[in-house]
């Protein structure tokens, strides 16, 4: 992977949370939500991140935005290392990386007007005069397709789709380079979902934004992404261009995930891999192939103990090469 031109790259990024127990609430185990992730995002690119609940995809997004302090590993934004920076050192980078959240009902302060919410980033970063800021707010609202009068109203007066637009306007205020979108359309109805997806694609073309697009819905992710990373129990198991990963999935988990999606076509005969059981807990997971217990295939003890290598099997198509879950013939 070419890290030189990437807008963002992570290097073996880890985010572990202590699990406390016992009388003295000591750390008794570690919840390895993100456990050794290497990703790059190029300028103007959308990297999709899919996985089931509890796989660590939201934690990864928040760690990249430095809402968490990573346990170890690196986060390089345009060559600047963010992982060890203090709050004040981070401030200039906060403008460059912004987030859009899933729940448009909970991510907007109900006591503030929309104008105040969208203006707040400018106030925090001490930008512009009051009049200038109001003009910027009006421009932003227009950009996301809301009427100018919205500035004087409160979030509860808007529907879910419109609230998500307010969230997008706030995220765009400081002209960021990278947007981390954490399930931005999951709470929306299908007809509204397509409106918001179109808006995100249009803004990307206009402003040259990069997106890390996190979702559990592979059809949505495939539609908006250039490349897709599939996450399972804190690790990326497969990474490839969007069309490639859907047409030629290699890892058993990716295959199961794709086959589980109900196709809106009654003449389609599903060729379904039904996975047994649930996603196991990320508390002290095995070091080796983490998909082994659900794969239904026999793994040798050493496969459960040693981390499978992340291999490029065709240009841009990477897979965690467990010999059982992802038999790779032409490894390079």
């Amino acid at each position: 992977m070419n890290n030189a031109t990437a807008i963002l790259s992570t290097d073996n990024l880890r985010m572990h949370f202590p699990v406390k127990g016992g009388v003295f609430q000591r750390a008794v185990a570690a919840c390895k939500a993100v456990d050794g992730v290497n990703l790059t995002i190029m300028p103007g690119e959308t990297l999709g991140l899919v996985g089931e609940s509890g796989c660590g995809k939201s934690t990864l997004g928040k760690t990249i935005a430095r809402l968490y302090e990573p346990t170890s590993g690196g986060i390089a934004f345009e060559g600047n290392e963010l992982a060890d920076l203090s709050r004040s050192q981070l401030k200039p980078f906060r403008r460059e990386i912004q987030m859009i959240f899933q729940d448009p009902y909970e991510s907007l302060n109900p006591r503030h007007t929309v104008g105040t919410i969208v203006e707040e980033p400018f106030v925090i970063h001490k930008m512009g005069t009051r009049a200038e800021r109001q003009q910027w707010v009006a421009d932003l609202l227009a950009k996301v397709g809301l009427p100018e009068s919205a500035a004087g109203r409160y979030p509860f007066e808007f529907s879910g789709g419109q609230r998500q637009r307010i969230g997008i306007a706030r995220a765009l205020a400081l002209k960021p380079r990278l947007l981390i979108c954490d399930e931005p359309v999951s709470a929306l109805d299908v007809s509204i979902q397509s409106q918001v997806l179109n808006l995100l694609m249009e803004l990307q073309r206009e402003m040259g934004l990069s997106y890390l697009f996190i979702s559990h819905d592979l059809a949505v992710v495939k539609h908006i992404s250039d490349r897709i990373a599939v996450m399972y129990l804190g690790r990326i198991v497969e990474l490839a261009p969007a069309v490639e990963i859907c047409n030629n999935p290699v890892h058993a988990y990716t295959k199961a995930l794709i086959s589980a999606i109900p196709v809106p076509d009654p003449t389609h005969v599903p060729d379904r891999v039904i996975l047994e059981g649930d996603v196991p807990t990320p508390i002290d997971p095995p070091d080796g192939c983490r998909f082994a217990p659900r794969s239904g295939a026999e793994h040798s003890p050493e496969m459960l103990e040693t981390l499978p290598p992340f291999k490029e099997i065709s240009p841009g198509h990477w897979v965690e090469a467990c010999p059982v879950c992802a038999p790779v013939r032409h490894a390079r």
Binding site: V190, A219, K222, S225, P262, I274, L275
Partner: protein, 331 residues
């Protein structure tokens, strides 16, 4: 013809359900008609607020009291009108002959009772069973819905189970008395896709083995395509289109159905292409018009009288019904 049509087990005719609110009486379901045939699955699809859950609650007579009321229409179940049967009789039907699977398996289960006990409760309510026999049957039900080591699981509490397992327990409770009709309200919406696949397969298998009828409420057209025989599309409290599943997907006639089908991103679609959208949003219950309710979002010019006069459902081909607004349902 010649084919023997499966008999209708449930027939809903012109159901009108309203709620008393501070803003006056709001009609959530406004003249809805459909039927569930024996052994078949009817899907009800629509966006939030279209009245699909209220329709289910009306059939089960579980409307929040005293605000919710069935104002008109009939709910014919095996010949009886459930809209008017006494509450006492309804209690012996609910959970016994018609049961329900809810969306949120955590809130549908009682957190302070053991799983086995919660299944026993339904069994003993409707059957004359000794506690031991009921427990035995509860364990068998857990086994039937694919819960490993059911004897141990029966003694556990809901919080000890994962989301998928809890939904299996909810299904076990719904099926405990061998109902003829199961109403599943978004049964897989809270679950991950791989778990959703497990649960849908389970419902399908149980339906085939037990010969029950299913009414499946969902917003996911993929789930509809995979599990249903017939589909009702609801919009703003009304059925706008009703057809056998293959017919509906191949030949959608109402502008809303067409919009819904073309606005979903598909796995085999062109990446980064612009998606079709339906402009605007679902109207609030307080601003509904008597005429074509999809008119403001259809992007098509409607004559004023179309907004004032209610259009009837018309059968345009065998079993394919569409709300005959001449603008939204033109061929």
């Amino acid at each position: 013809m010649g084919e023997v049509e499966p008999k209708k087990l449930l027939e809903v005719r012109d159901l009108v359900t309203a709620f008393d609110t501070d803003a006056g009486q709001l009609t959530a379901v406004d003249g809805v008609s459909f039927a569930v045939r024996r052994g078949c699955t009817l899907g009800i699809v629509g966006e939030s607020g279209c009245g699909k859950s209220v329709t289910a609650m009306s059939i089960m007579r579980l409307l929040p009291q005293p605000m919710g009321k069935i104002l008109a229409g009939e709910v014919l179940f095996d010949g009886r009108n459930l809209a008017t049967v006494p509450a006492e009789d309804m209690r012996s039907i609910r959970g016994n002959r018609i049961s329900m699977i809810f969306q949120e398996p955590m809130t549908a289960l009682n957190p302070v009772h053991r799983i086995g006990k919660q299944i026993c409760e339904v069994l003993t309510q409707h059957n004359d069973l000794s506690p031991d026999d009921a427990w035995q049957q509860a364990v068998e039900m857990l086994d039937k819905v694919g819960i490993p080591s059911p004897e141990i699981r029966a003694t556990e509490y809901p919080h000890q189970l994962s989301g998928g397992m809890r939904q299996r327990v909810v299904i076990a409770i719904a099926l405990a008395c061998g109902p003829e009709l199961v109403i599943a309200d978004e049964p897989t919406t809270a679950l991950d896709v791989t778990i959703q696949a497990q649960i849908l397969q389970l419902i399908n298998n149980l339906q085939r083995n037990l010969g029950m009828s299913v009414m499946l409420i969902t917003h996911d057209l993929g789930v509809i395509a995979e599990t249903c025989d017939e589909v009702c599309v609801m919009y703003a409290g009304r059925v706008v289109e009703r057809a056998p599943v293959k017919e509906l997907f191949a030949n959608p006639r109402h502008a809303y159905t067409q919009g819904l089908l073309s606005s979903i991103p598909r796995l085999n679609g062109t990446p980064k292409s612009e998606l079709q959208t339906i402009d605007g949003m679902v109207p609030a219950l307080s601003e509904l018009k008597p005429g074509c309710r999809f008119a403001p979002r259809s992007g098509r010019e409607h004559a004023p009288e179309l907004l004032v006069e209610r259009q009837t459902l018309k059968e345009i081909s065998t079993d394919h019904w569409v709300e005959a607004c001449p603008v939204c349902a033109r061929g």
